[in-house]
Amino acid sequence: MSQKTILNETHRALGAKMVDFGGWDMPLSYGSQIEEHHAVRRDAGMFDVSHMTVVDLHGARTREFLRHLLANSVDKLKVSGKALYTCMLNEQGGVIDDLIVYFLTEDFFRIVVNAATREKDLAWIEKQAAAFAVKVTERPDLAMIAVQGPNARAKVQSLLSPAVREAAAKIGKFSATEGDDLFIARTGYTGEDGYEIIVAEKDAITLWNKLKDAGVVPAGLGARDTLRLEAGMNLYGQDMDETITPWEAALAWTVSLEPGRDFIGRAALEKQKAEGAKRSLVGLVMDEKGVLRHGQRVATRQGDGEILSGTFSPTLAKAIAFARVPAGVTDGVEVDIRGKLVPVRLVKYPFVRDGKACEGI
């Protein structure tokens, strides 16, 4: 039996095509996923992301605990409301999950983890938290709506009380504020500006409908996937998992190896760094017609790799992908599409940022 968010009936009433996603019954699209994608790139769209798991961490030693738990350094979080993207690793340096952590007060941090990894994440966090006397509280009473696009912030702000509107307008990227019973974070998974809003379940439907009346277009998981891949953002389970280290998933930028902090997985990461990772994650663009897809074989002079996330990019009108390939591959890459080897270009991503194709794409 799949789980339902508080907005499930709302999606169905809008005619959404529903799919199972990590055990949740979620909207794939409400009509055309390409139109939903463009709505986010050009105006404002919203996603029900209430399936994601909000976990509150309380205790005097919470920061110390997170220094140990996370590969990125929570010491970068100095101002209340500031957020950090990070991996949570096992002892082998493999990625248990990627998550966002918000610093609220010294004895209260909030993290948001993936839906499909909820149980193992909670078990892992609770196991590690015991030694630091940190209390781990899941918040199933909260829903979450991501409002994304160049006009997303203005549309959200139009619904807020004057004081909260001012606060929401002022927060910088990767920061959050609270007010009007909302937790408003300037974060997202689309490569556009916008907010992710955490709201009490009981208020979520009203907020969704108000946003819709303000002209925010409902968008499903289909558009969310094409938007995040264009934006060069990894998807857990597809682009990395417990057998893959951040070095092999192009997530080195999220690992902080500052001296004196012994986080879980650090020793394994340092060893692999010294030896050199044998595989790397690269961005691919295909100029020929067709679609790159998960699981396709990638042929290089250094050996085979495979497509991790692959899709048709609505913004670029061509196929884009992440692939894991032998380290050192820079060109001469082909993808096996139904037995035919098609040349692709290895590119620096993101592919798209703020509505436009990035240079060199």
Binding site: S29, S32, K289, G290, V291, F312
Partner: protein, 132 residues
């Protein structure tokens, strides 16, 4: 759901076939199939002159979501392909039974093979069975 035109025959795998006045058979995918696939972004067409065999894959339609083989409802020689789909694959989403046709076959064994295909009502029923 759009009305299914009465002059079409169907495969259970959602291809349609229309016998034209000149005896050739026009082939496409059903409106139901395009709905399942979602926004189409690429169509791999057969080549004019290809010999196709009933039941064999001879084209591919790809949406953002998935790639799907198109099977030949009848055997014969491909005599035309809808090249316009190269630039506008979404035509299949918009008009699956008309402008969204995929290719035309000059059939070699039509009388026998068309017996294997479903009429519009039987096809409509097979879709409903899928959904329950």
């Amino acid at each position: 759901m759009n009305e299914i035109p009465g002059d079409l025959k169907f495969m259970k795998t959602h291809e349609w076939a229309r016998v034209e006045d000149n005896g050739n058979v026009t082939i496409g995918i059903s409106d139901h199939a395009q709905g399942l696939l979602g926004d189409l972004v690429y169509v791999e067409l057969p080549s004019v002159g290809d010999e196709v065999k009933a039941g064999n894959a001879c084209a591919v339609v790809e949406s953002v979501k998935a790639a799907s083989d198109v099977y030949a409802p009848v055997s014969g020689e491909v005599v035309a392909v809808n090249s316009a789909l190269g630039d506008k694959p979404e035509t299949i989403n918009e008009d699956a039974y008309g402008e969204g046709w995929i290719f035309v076959v000059k059939p070699s064994n039509l009388a026998e093979e068309s017996e294997e295909l479903l009429g519009p009502d039987d096809y409509a029923e097979s879709i409903e069975d899928d959904e329950h």
